[in-house]
């Protein structure tokens, strides 16, 4: 039981971090970023290149990953999403643009990094073992700690920094924020960059555990959408809850349903659909986003 | 006095712990213009949505023409003859004025959806009749010259007239008008007052929710005043102007007073 809970927390922390980026972008731009999973994969590959291939320190690799993805996010917002949002009133357009961007990033990753599964050397060796009740490799514990630190850092940033406050104002009421003198374009770009950066950081963290491959993008996006929906689209604490809930559900159901074959995700997805049908705004969402 | 067309009996609506409407009762008589006024947050729009069945009641009932209508689906209430208009942001943005009014005749349609699809003779005859009726309504509301304009291009005053045109198309017995004078200058308000009177003279009973005191005093046969979700007064415009409780309710909320007399 302890093992299941620990696994759940480990998964949940990473999931929460992915969901945070997605929900931030949604809250600011009303864009469901279909390319979020691809951004995560891209982050994994950047870390792989710098840490795994070039042999530079991991901290530097993670830093470069964060910067790279932030730049990608900013560019994508400025040159793709902003013009499309300005010209089109339909939600569909940005959603499809995001889908197109997902394909594009997949193509870029395929060309630059290839389609093979890539891994990097372990950060730390050894396994934490508490009486065989909880077994956890040290590197996972480190990654868990880093993910939690990122979440706390992000929350503090949103709460106390000037940029964070402006982003929150923008997310709450775009028009009011504009009237109050918030530079909507600039902060929209900042928010998008931040969201992409979070996705990249998770990629950079997880490449040390699970490795990275091209095919991970789509499923990651789907999972991230689910977490965001559980918590309520566009609600930042909601994303953390959504991530934790999905992490624990996965860990609990994987161990309890193992004997029934591969139905864990079916059960999770179906229960999510039922939950959303009853409570469309998720746990903490505002009506209709 | 005439028999009431609409009766509201002890209507209460709670949102969680918040009581938006508490024990409200009144009657609406045929062919009168009845206004509901009150400061911001007095529960006017809640009452409005309850009557048009866009919200479910917590307790109490609404009787229309002898039938209980509270908590029926909005389209059924509309079919019975209680039709609401919306504030001007709620329109069919990408349709022309004429298209909007034609489609709003749906209530009168006798052919079923399959009939429309196949284009049966009933459906085609109805289409013709609706188009004719739509032109008549547009003419009546002086919108004919804008008939082929896309709705989102209309100026505010015309948008509101379009809202009324859409309402009239469904041949209502009672038309509920949601703040028909909001944001209008004096001249526009007076034109709108005339328009609403004309609609009443077609035989439509009018129930309106409004902020603009001057217009309400001018147009209404009777007025109901809400404050903090309760009915505090009911009477003719003259009676309401004399009512101490009403004056107090309005004076107590200074910012509303400013809003009332400056616009």
């Amino acid at each position: 039981m302890e093992q299941i809970l620990v696994n759940g927390a480990y998964l949940g922390a990473q999931y929460a971090l992915i969901a945070l980026g997605l929900t931030l972008i949604f809250a600011l731009m009303n864009v469901m970023n279909f390319a979020h999973g691809q951004m995560y994969v891209l982050g994994g590959f950047v870390t792989y290149t710098i840490y795994g291939q070039l042999g530079m320190p991991y901290a530097l690799a993670l830093f470069v990953t964060a910067i790279t993805l932030a730049v990608v996010g900013a560019v994508v917002e400025k040159f793709l999403f902003r013009p499309v949002i300005k010209r089109s009133q339909r939600d569909e357009s940005t959603m499809l643009l995001a889908a197109g961007l997902g394909f594009f990033l997949d193509a870029v990753i395929l060309l630059v990094f290839g389609e093979k599964q890539r891994g990097v050397p372990k950060l730390i060796n050894g396994v934490f073992n508490w009486d065989f009740r909880v077994i956890m490799p040290y590197d996972r514990i480190l990654i868990f700690a880093l993910a939690v630190a990122c979440i706390i850092g992000f929350m503090l940033f949103m709460q106390y920094s000037k940029t964070g406050r402006a982003l929150r104002a923008l997310a709450q009421d775009r028009d009011a924020a504009q009237l109050m003198g918030v530079d909507v374009d600039r902060y929209g770009m900042t928010g998008f960059a931040l969201g992409a950066m979070l996705a990249g950081i998770v990629g950079g963290l997880l490449v040390t555990i699970t490795g990275v491959n091209l095919g991970m993008g789509g499923p990651t996006s789907t999972k991230a959408f689910m977490m965001v929906m559980i918590g309520g689209a566009g609600v930042i604490p909601g994303a953390i809850f959504g991530g934790l809930i999905l992490g624990f559900m996965e860990s609990i159901l994987l161990s309890t349903l193992a004997s029934y074959g591969d139905i864990t995700y079916l059960v999770i997805f179906v229960s999510l659909m039922i939950f959303l049908a009853i409570r469309p705004n998720g746990l903490m969402g505002k009506p209709w986003g | 006095m005439k028999k009431p067309l609409l009766q509201v009996n002890h209507l209460t609506k709670k949102f969680g712990g918040l009581t938006a409407n508490h024990d409200i009762s009144f009657q609406v008589f045929e062919q009168e213009i009845l206004s509901v006024i009150g400061p911001n947050g007095a529960g006017k729009s809640t009452l409005f949505k309850l009557i048009s069945s866009f919200l479910r009641t917590t307790s109490g009932e609404i009787i229309f023409d002898g039938n209980k209508i509270s908590n029926l689906a909005p389209h059924i209430v509309a079919r019975m003859g209680i039709v609401r208009t919306f504030q001007e942001t709620t329109i069919f943005k990408n349709m022309t004025v004429r298209e909007s009014v034609v489609v709003a005749h749906h209530i009168r349609a006798k052919a079923n959806l399959f009939g429309y699809f196949l284009g049966t003779s009933t459906a085609r005859a109805e289409e013709k009749e609706f188009a004719r009726s739509a032109d008549e309504i547009l003419d009546f509301l002086q919108l004919s010259s804008l008939a082929n304009e896309v709705a989102s291009n209309l100026p505010q005053g015309h948008l509101r007239a379009l809202g009324i045109a859409i309402g009239l198309a469904s041949n209502p017995k009672i038309l509920l008008l949601d703040e028909p004078f909001a944001g209008m200058n004096h001249d526009e308000t007076m034109q709108m007052v005339e328009l609403v009177r004309k609609v009443r003279d077609r035989g439509v009973t009018i129930l309106l929710v409004e902020h603009d005191m001057a217009a309400v005093m001018r147009i209404s046969d009777r007025i109901i005043v809400l404050n903090f979700g309760e009915k505090i007064a009911e009477g003719t415009p003259a009676e309401i102007q004399e009512n101490e409780q009403v004056i107090e309710a309005y004076l107590g909320k200074e910012e509303d007073l400013v809003g009332l007399y400056t616009c």
């Binding site: 569909e92 959408f225 929906m229 999510l272 | 069919f92 349709m95 749906h106 699809f117 284009g119």
Partner: protein
Amino acid sequence: MGLIIMQNKKILFTALFLIFVLVIIPSLIVMTSRWDLYYTLSSVALLAIASAGVWLTFYIGRINIGQGAFALVGGYVTAILITKAGFSFWLALPFSGLFAAFISVLIGLPILRLRGVYFAMITLVLTEVGRLSALALPITNGAKGISNIPLPGELSFAGITIIPDFASFENPRMAFYYLASVLMILCFATLYRLSNSRLGHLCRSMQQNEELTSSIGVNIAAIRIIIFALSSFMGGIGGSIFAVMSQSIYPSSFQVADSINFMLNCFLGGLGYVFGPMLGTVVLYFGWDLLFQTGKYQMLIYSSLLIISMLVLPNGLLSIRLSGRKKS
């Protein structure tokens, strides 16, 4: 006068289109002996049918990323009915569409209340649920799927053969081409009729404002269900023929990427135009095929073109023609 000319023009266009699809294309294939094109074109027609369904849900203002699930349902129902229950394909085909529609009503009742991103996401999850159910359920045979589905047999009525046994053709692919293209034509005729009927006007009203639509006495819940069921019916039909044509169906036959592609087809062609999904499917399918020669750059060029088209033509390909006409 103008009206009559327009009608004649329409009839002319329809006739030309029918001749093109049913006579010219097959003759060209015979002349060039490119028999493989039958298969490609049949696929395009089937994808266009499924995309037409997605277009319908767009028409009532819902972003539907669940069509893959309904195509999968259609495919599996056909496969199971034919291989396990011994049904004729001609019976299994309508049954598959109806079953998909039935499922969509069950699911639609709760979820059609949702709008915007919420509906989009829940239908995306639905596609995943479809795939995972196909993997998990005993009757669908897991990841191995169902293969060796026989070709459609003879369809006869009162002893008269209406459609001969597909296996008796020298080239069954041609038979599939006719089947798929005739159904596609029927499907788009339905769409055209619908969008020009009163039902279409009501759908457009709902797309723009559901509250106002219900205030003019329209039972929006009923229309939503009808349209969603029709949409899923088309998905089911598309999936059903697809299963029989490829003689197999797997959980991976229709997945999230396919659901997104259906959506892209509609969007590229133009959401405001009935024939948008057909054009979008043709362009995307052949665009992808043509780019095959670019080798490893195929995906890159394809996705770039897609993004550029969204930037330049936010209202779809068909908007070029119409905006051109308006200016003149």
